[in-house]
């Protein structure tokens, strides 16, 4: 047997180092609020929201390998369900966030149905159409959704007391840690392996007893759940929900975050979200240059790091290689 290639330093050898780094990052995030002003805290909250978005979209686009663009629709569903359940039903913040997650999961399972029959560009068009259909619904079901003008969110309270900016930050941090952590656990289980097996070779997956259709539905449902959670947090953060927020430009933002971060990379999802939400804020100090610098940066990153920042780091730092990594690109 050819043993000339070295055994990789894969997941078995990376565990403790990754755990230390995660603990340090978490400690830094917990210590953040006293060190930043309200605006910076708002930006940090936005980063947290988009971390969830990127993880949710990557579940389908990166891990399952399906060219599906319903992420903005799930995001909107989360925002509307959370907001409307608070406005109309008087739900508290946590039950409203949970309701958003459940509805997002159901919407994800529904959107996953076409993926059982079509793929590639056809699936992309169907999922984009679903997003536009949802926007039409937000505008025209104005008796419930308040139409094209949208609505303001009620005050956000937790256990009887209204949340300050710092309180919201800790709520967001908890939801994101749970959402990303649960996604990591899912990906490292037989379900995550099934996602990648379906992406790699459906016939082989089928022959191993992996129920391909069920696997696709599960991935879409989890993607919907996680992205809707992000939508609920987005509504809480901005205090306002309106249909124009959840269109094609929102979808494009999600897609760029995942492509820059790296398809099929959890760490890349988080890095992409932080970069794409943080950089525009940094560039705000250079009026006129903002769009140019941002666009050039995207081109440079994608040119020199075709697997995204997550893939680039994995190739340079073997201990960062994730268990279910994505070898190629563009074969979603």
């Amino acid at each position: 047997m050819d043993k000339s290639l070295p055994a990789s330093t894969g997941p078995a050898s990376r565990g403790p180092r990754v755990r230390y780094i995660l603990v340090i990052i978490l400690a830094a995030l917990l210590a953040l609020p006293p060190m930043v002003n309200d605006y910076q805290l708002f930006v940090a909250n936005t980063m947290l929201v988009y971390c969830l978005v990127a993880v949710g979209l990557n579940m389908v686009l990166g891990y399952l390998g399906q060219l599906a663009f319903a992420s903005a629709a799930f995001f909107g569903i989360g925002a509307y369900v959370a907001g409307l359940s608070m406005v109309h039903l008087g739900l508290g913040s946590l039950p409203a966030i949970l309701a958003a997650a459940v509805c997002g999961g159901l919407a994800g399972a529904l959107v996953g149905l076409p993926a059982l029959r079509v793929r590639g560009y056809y699936l992309a068009i169907i999922t984009l159409a679903f997003g536009e259909l949802m926007r039409w619904l937000y505008v025209h079901a104005d008796g419930v959704t308040f139409g094209s003008g949208g609505f303001n969110m009620p005050g956000i309270a937790l256990f009887g007391s209204e949340l300050s900016g710092t309180g919201k930050y800790y709520l967001f941090l908890a939801v994101v840690v749970i959402g990303v952590g649960a996604s990591a656990l899912l990906l490292h289980s037989r379900y995550g392996r099934a996602f990648v097996a379906v992406r790699n070779n459906e016939a082989a997956a089928d022959s191993l007893g992996i129920a391909v259709n069920r696997t696709k539905i599960i991935a879409f449902a989890w993607s919907g759940l996680i992205t809707a959670l992000a939508g609920a947090l987005y509504a809480i953060l901005n205090g306002r929900v309106s249909p124009d927020t959840f269109g094609i430009s929102q979808m494009l933002m999600h897609f760029v975050i995942v492509m820059i971060g790296g398809l099929g990379s959890l760490a890349g999802s988080v890095i992409g979200a932080v970069l794409l939400t943080g950089l525009p804020e940094l560039l705000r100090n250079f009026p006129g240059l903002e769009e140019i610098v941002f666009s050039l940066l995207l081109i440079v990153v994608l040119f020199f790091m075709p697997k995204g920042v997550g893939g680039f780091l994995s190739s340079r730092l073997p201990w960062m290689r994730e268990r279910l990594y994505r070898e190629g690109r563009g074969n979603a």
Partner: protein
């Protein structure tokens, strides 16, 4: 254990498998041989549920499996490998073998996303079983390597390990020796005989004569989809119909 009765597969006007019947017993290595285009892989795919049979039936342990989906057939205890490499290239070798334990890993969805101890335990047990199988196949040191980075021969071994790990009762191997070095072929042959000794039935499609002769209990030779011989490896060497097919003269 596996009963194939009058299996016929037609594609438009072409009869790829013509009235094929045979049975494979527990602990037996049964080989399908034949020149290219003889219908071996088509018969394999029809038995495994990947293509529908035009006529005939297939039964496993007395139960009909014709018309079942591949995943349903796998759940009954039948595993297979693919002629054109069914490796999951973007997974590590260990993850590839773990996918073979999909049906044997009793971890629920919510157990997995919450890190529930029973699910974590099930995952840990599955990993231990996968590592033991890699060890048995002599490729334990490749466990963390991306499967797509391996040589073709190594990938075949990973695929075979994946098929064997779940303790299947029938394993169908489609040309497993392609790309293997003579040493690896020998090792593969030993592994197949060990499996058969444990009671596993093995259905093999193979061209490599030394492997076929070393491991097979029975050999069935196909030509143009039809059975032309079914006998022991020793007999097949001297069968005039077989010699005619392979050498052009008896």
């Amino acid at each position: 254990m596996l009963e194939v009765h009058h299996l016929t597969v037609r594609f438009s006007g072409l009869t790829a498998v013509d009235d094929l019947s045979f049975s494979v017993q527990r602990g037996e290595v049964f080989t399908l041989m034949g020149p290219n285009g003889a219908g071996k892989t088509t018969a394999f795919n029809a038995i495994g549920g990947f293509i529908p049979a035009t006529q005939g039936s297939v039964a496993f342990k007395g139960k009909p499996i014709s018309g079942l989906r591949p995943a349903q057939i796998a759940a009954l205890g039948i595993r297979r490998t693919f002629q054109n490499n069914g490796i999951l290239r973007e997974m590590s070798v260990l993850e590839n073998v773990l996918t073979g334990l999909e049906l044997d890993t009793p971890s629920s969805f919510w157990g997995c996303v919450t890190g529930w101890p029973a699910s974590t335990r099930a995952e840990r047990n599955a990993t231990a079983r996968a590592r033991a199988m890699l060890d048995k196949m002599g490729i334990a040191d490749l466990a963390e390597r991306p499967a797509g980075d391996l040589s073709f021969g190594q990938q075949r071994l990973v695929e075979i390990a994946r098929a064997m790990v779940a303790g299947a009762e029938l394993i169908m191997l489609d040309e497993p020796a392609v790309g293997l070095s003579p040493g690896d072929r020998l090792h593969l042959g030993q592994s197949l005989r060990e499996l058969a000794a444990e009671g596993v039935a093995i259905l093999l499609v193979e061209h490599v004569q030394d492997l076929v002769m070393a491991v097979s209990d029975q050999v069935l030779v196909l030509n143009y989809g039809k059975k032309i011989a079914q006998c022991s490896p020793e007999e097949v060497r001297n069968n005039k119909d077989v010699l005619e097919v392979y050498l052009g003269h008896a």
